[in-house]
Amino acid sequence: MRKNRPRQSKERRYETFRLFLLSGVGLTLTLILLVFIFGSQTYSPLHRLLFWGISPIQKGASAVTDTVVSFKQEYIDLRTVREDNKRLWAQLEQYKEIIDDSREAIAISVRLQKLLDFKEANDYPTVAARIIGKDPSLWFNNVIIDRGTSDGVDSGMPVVTGAGIVGQVYEVSTDYSKVLLTIAPSSAMDVIIQNSRERGILKGTGENSYRLNYILKKINISKGDYIVTAGYGGMFPTGLPVGTVSKVIRKPRGMFLEVEVTPAVDFTTLENLLVILRNKISFDDARL
């Protein structure tokens, strides 16, 4: 019993000391906290130390997290990229088709605009036609158009584009016509040189060019001169563009020059045409 009594008092003292120490620490911390809260609100050296010491750890942790997230995202992306690729290729093809269609629409629009310009610039009654067939032979130059007698088209009527004269209706049925192109060897028409007003006969060559006949050597004609329809005989209206002089050959013999003419119309891209309904109007009246 006597041995136990000092041991108990020692334990009590220790507990009292611990209580005091704990209260002291708590009070100190409370004071520090109060100072922090109601103080100047600036980082103390402790704060700076913590800031300096922990930020790299934070940075490292953040990098690791970012890597993990990025890896996860890349994995997900990889899983979806094939589908995206397919979808994008399909979209690309679709847009390519749209662009091609748009380009074609623009080309058609330009061609039709030229025809409309011609129609508005001239008072001749016309009917628009489309080429549906081309002469397959090497020695003739005809095209088949989708207009015939039911549209008012008749044989002999001139056929033009916005650029100039193309040919003449050769044969007609109710809904279709055969047009003899001006570049055909069997085609000939009266023309005049626009500047000098000299007359000549323009013959097709079967190629993409004309030959201008019966131009006297004394006539002043040079490369680049414009050739237009003369309108004699009422077959073609006067002043329609035919082409430009591309070559003039003066041979020592003979009375006439050899003149080559480049067509105003590009025969390689012919699609839409206008048939001038000649019988509906007299060209002589139209000129007046």
Binding site: D135, P136, L138, A184, P185, E207, F267, T269
Partner: protein, 183 residues
């Protein structure tokens, strides 16, 4: 049935040539498909049927092409009888030799018809270009083989009993005589 079918085929070939293979009115690399049919008829069909088929096909060509009526009948009949004559006289009758023969006959007939018409109606035809006509003749050779196969298939199908129409003749009972009549 056979005649009508081959007339239809010939018209289709003409339409195909005047629309699909002629990219521009000045295209030169457009094979003369109708001539391959003419050659096939010369090799395989009897004269009466061939003459009827060629008449319709060449008149169709006259409608869609050219300014001289009769140009294509002259070309087609000329080609037909030339090929028929050569094929009868030729000792070798293998298809390997038939294809160049078609191109060669095309060249000869074109040359003859062109110069005859140029003499009779000057300033009506375009200039003769060897390069272009040789190109056309050369184009016939590779196209003749598949077309011959198609024509042959059609021919053999239509020759089978299912498609045979004998409106004016009844079977005599003599199979050999019936066969002779068909040929």
């Amino acid at each position: 049935m056979l005649t009508i079918t081959f007339i239809f085929v010939g018209i289709l070939l003409v339409v195909f040539q005047t629309t699909v293979t002629m990219f521009t009115p000045l295209s030169t690399a457009s094979p003369d498909l109708y001539y391959i049919l003419v050659a096939f008829l010369a090799f395989r069909l009897d004269v009466v049927r061939s003459v009827a088929i060629i008449l319709i096909v060449s008149c169709t060509l006259d409608v869609f092409s050219g300014t001289i009526i009769g140009f294509y009948p002259l070309l087609c009949y000329g080609g037909y009888f030339l090929i028929r004559f050569i094929s009868i006289k030729m000792p070798v009758r293998e298809s390997l030799y038939q294809l160049p023969l078609v191109a060669l006959s095309y060249l000869i007939v074109s040359l003859l018809v062109y110069h005859t018409l140029d003499f009779l109606q000057p300033d009506t035809l375009g200039a003769w270009h060897w390069s272009r006509i040789l190109l056309r003749a050369a184009l016939i050779i590779p196209l003749a083989w598949p077309l011959f196969r198609i024509f042959e298939l059609l021919y053999s199908t239509l020759r089978s009993k299912r498609y045979r129409i004998n409106l004016f003749s009844s079977s005599s009972g003599n199979q050999f005589r019936d066969k002779e009549r068909l040929l």
